[in-house]
Amino acid sequence: MTSPVQLYCWHFMSYPHLAPDFDDTQSSGWVTVPNSLWDRQKARGLYQQYIDQLAYADEIGFDGMVLNEHHQTIYGLGPSPNLVAAALTQRTKKGKIIILGNLLPLHMNPLRVAEEYAMLDNMSDGRIIAGFAPGSGPETFNYNIASAPSRDQFWEAVELIRKAWTQPGPFNFEGRHYPLRYVNPWPLPTQNPHPPIWIPGARSRDTLVQIAKHGYCYFLSSRSHGKETAKSVQQFAKVLEQHGDVYRPHRMGILMSTYVAETDKQAQDESREGVWYFLKNCLKGHQRREGRQLTFGPGVPYIPTNEFHDYLKFSDPTTPLLGDTQDWDDLQKSQSIIVGSPETVYRRFIDILEHAQVGHLLIQFHMGNMKDELTRKSMHLFATQVAPRLREDSVKLFGRTFSDLPAAAGMEVVK
């Protein structure tokens, strides 16, 4: 029995009250963006609005809600996604709550994450998907997490959490970074043996090997989807095979952004302000050449030196990034933010599914300073006019390719 594509609503919770001259006056939306720009009065009610939008996603039938962790940035006001997740456990009844993820090296002790996720899993009656991430460029600066040495620490933290959930306590954990004499968390998660574990990665082979070894789900952290996405699936499939496993769509997720309106033209008109606020402001310092990009540069590297040499051969520091997008045509090509009528959005999404065969779509609806009513209208159109077709067609699509495989394991929530 093939499962349909899972459709989730991802909220980045951007700061929407920047002045129109932000791009002219500030070199980055990340790390160094002065917090004197935070308007305490205008910001009142902002988290409530965002939480309400996520609860609305649950109400209209999305498969879940996605949160993530960012620090010192206008891009995402979620330094502690677990707090929002806690609110959602009380506001929603059906959908999964995906936290993608807690940035483990930023926590003094990962045991705290094991405990908080277990609490959330109990509070939500087993609806948590537990994402773990090491942090990236910005965290290098805002939390002093150097990528190179933190990798080892990250994987040890994941191992500690997994053991804390599965190995009867109390036990002694002889970690290099987190040695603990008494690992014995109360509560344990509701899901048995533990919530599904998702790990974001950007094609690093080391990351894929760890994911494959432990049966985790791979979230491809890329905002653009063309041929590269299909290639990433193939790369992951190959690593799985080398570890005696086999690729299934629900072993992998990707991030998409969309705005849906009645017609293509109306979709562009309504989303223009939010989309370009997002591209120019939120991506400045992250995925835009203008300013100082902190996401992946010399000095914050985690890939070994010899791999960097190979990376250089195939990369060009002048290639435009998503945030450098100038117009709607450019945006079309990036396969990242899909704006249009239900028919257009359906066609573009199913096209990506056909090529990439990915079972989890994590979809951003709110972008930049998008108004509440427009965000909800777009979500509703997607839920009623796009999602049903995607679900139905994805069952056929995945069925064709993966029908001879045993029922998917690992990714399914076990209650």
């Binding site: 290098t140 010399p298 000095g299 040499h309």
Partner: protein
Amino acid sequence: MSSRLIKVRDREVTIFEKGDGPPTLYLHGFADVHGVAGDLLPFHDALSKKSRLIAPAHPGCNGSSELSNGWAPGDLSFHYLELLDELGLDTFNLVGHCTGGWIAAELAVRHPERVRQLVLIGACGLFVAGEPTSDVFMHAQPERGVDYATLRNVFFNGPQTELGLRWFPNGRGDLDEETRRYAMLRYGSFTGFRPPYFYERSLIERLHRARMRSLVIWGEHDHMVPLAHGQAYAKGLPNSSGLKIVAGAGHAVQMEQPQVVADLIHQFLDD
């Protein structure tokens, strides 16, 4: 001249050796041999005129193996002690620049009996309140993806000097040179990224142990390690000949004014 690889236990170390005379161990910095340059530079050639110069690349830099079990000052000190064992060097003069100066100071306070004379050039390693070293990692992120002006300013006497543009050009440079710079920053991120930022708080309290003759040299416009660190070294080292400030030079003073710095060192060592 070409470097060679020597085996130190399970690690390989890229090393240059040149000249005759009393042995001088040179520990490099960022804008320096092994950091950006694959070969010895005029400063090192000048040093080798009057001594047997031994210039190894730090772990991870310029083809040297990375350390597998930690990068704390103690780990680096043991790495160099094992290298000295391998080279059969008992006592030697010790010259260090930038992070190489830090390691030199760590060796000098741990093993003062082996270091005959000590020279520190734009050395980090000390914590000086209110005088932080530049965030080399932030500056290493190019503006608009291609512009390294502020990084050049950290290492040199201004953002657009000829030397700065030679070693940190805008845009994509020569692949091997890019890789060498990457390795250097990766080494930097292992040794000095996590707090402490290129310092060991207790080092200043240990300087009294470095009783050998010592000299401190600083570029007048060091934008990487503030002059106050040079003053703190000169004050804390018990047998210091003082702080020599080279006018019109930045952090990589030995690259910018090689003969001036080499002369200062030779005058000092000849004393």
